[in-house]
Symmetry: C2
Subunit: 209 residues, 2 copies
Amino acid sequence: MVGGHAGRGGLRERKKQRTREALSLAAIRLAVERGWAAVTVEDIAAAADVSVRTFRNYFSGKAEAVAARHLDRMRRIADELRVRPGDEPLWEALVSSVEAQFAPDEDLDAVPAPDPAQVDGVRVMLTEPALQGELARAHALAQDELAAAIAERTGTDPARDLYPALVAAAAGSAVAVAIEHCLRAEAPTPLGPVLRDALEQLRAGLPVP
Amino acid sequence: MVGGHAGRGGLRERKKQRTREALSLAAIRLAVERGWAAVTVEDIAAAADVSVRTFRNYFSGKAEAVAARHLDRMRRIADELRVRPGDEPLWEALVSSVEAQFAPDEDLDAVPAPDPAQVDGVRVMLTEPALQGELARAHALAQDELAAAIAERTGTDPARDLYPALVAAAAGSAVAVAIEHCLRAEAPTPLGPVLRDALEQLRAGLPVP
DNA sequence: ACAGAATATGCCGGATCGGCAATATTGCTG
DNA sequence: CAGCAATATTGCCGATCCGGCATATTCTGT
């Protein structure tokens, strides 16, 4: 062993992660400011200082690169749930895990500061079919991991019980509905309260309003 | 006026619909029996007796063609809900509408007879990322229409209330979870009871089992 | 330090994708 | 019923995507 490195995992893995993030970020930025069709894989690769071929080692296309950020964030919900105290009721732990990922800011996954021009760019970008598909897929993938974490925590069997998959799907739906709601509103709306409301309605069995 | 035609809509529209169905069906059949990568757009177009260019007027790619069948079926849930008697409680009408689309047979959307070889082909096909994305997108699109139908029926405002989108998402989740469950099981499992169970759990607020 | 493994890159051929213009089919109207 | 307008089908083409292969470069564990 040469010596204790900083972050966990080797230098190799960290660099890989940084490249992945740089590519995803570049893809989002370019797509938002130039429009979806006007940005090629070559542009993204150049913006992250890697070859086009390397980009394609990380992502299968523009869409996957853009969706990666959303995917990573959704994944973190499952990670967060795993490290919660085990005696906490499931739903409570789940709500905390979800809110932890959307607490500070960022209405979708691109802009740190809710600049109206950029938000509008995101709206336009989200009309692209290829991107919608990839985002929906990312959502589904993350839900599968969340379902596994829920099954693990509750001692249910994902192969026999619908329960873990259903709870994961419910949580995912709450996030999706809340994000779309806030994104559709013209006045910038904080995500947190909307998300909490959605989760609460689901837990109450969706009573008619 | 020339005369009352048979089905609603002109001959033109019906022919279009038949072409669309033929293409989607051909795409599914070829992909299941040959494997995803081994079928080109040209093959599909040839199987439906249209030019490649025409195929691309209907669908943006193989994935969309295959997903079209699922999309159409999910759309019919919303259509069914609209023609239900208005005095029926929403959830009851919704459950009926969903079950009506999955009542007779077909575990996913390809095979009329649950041939084990074909079911396995479907399983393999569903591992394809591009197809997963398109299916997820179809799911999301259908949910939007369902949400509109629910809002219409309950008098809620999709722009202000989370309710319609949440209920639509819950119904969609139940369908998705039930389908995946039945597809994962090695013994052929009828979808109906599983679907009913999933919907019931959601309505009960997902109690821990 | 060295052997082995994983990654980055260039190159290439097949397939995809969408715009354009010509042609054919359908629906309407006089 | 005959012509006209609208829409669908088709072929063509260049840009792009996509993944396999071979090679060079960079990290890891002993």
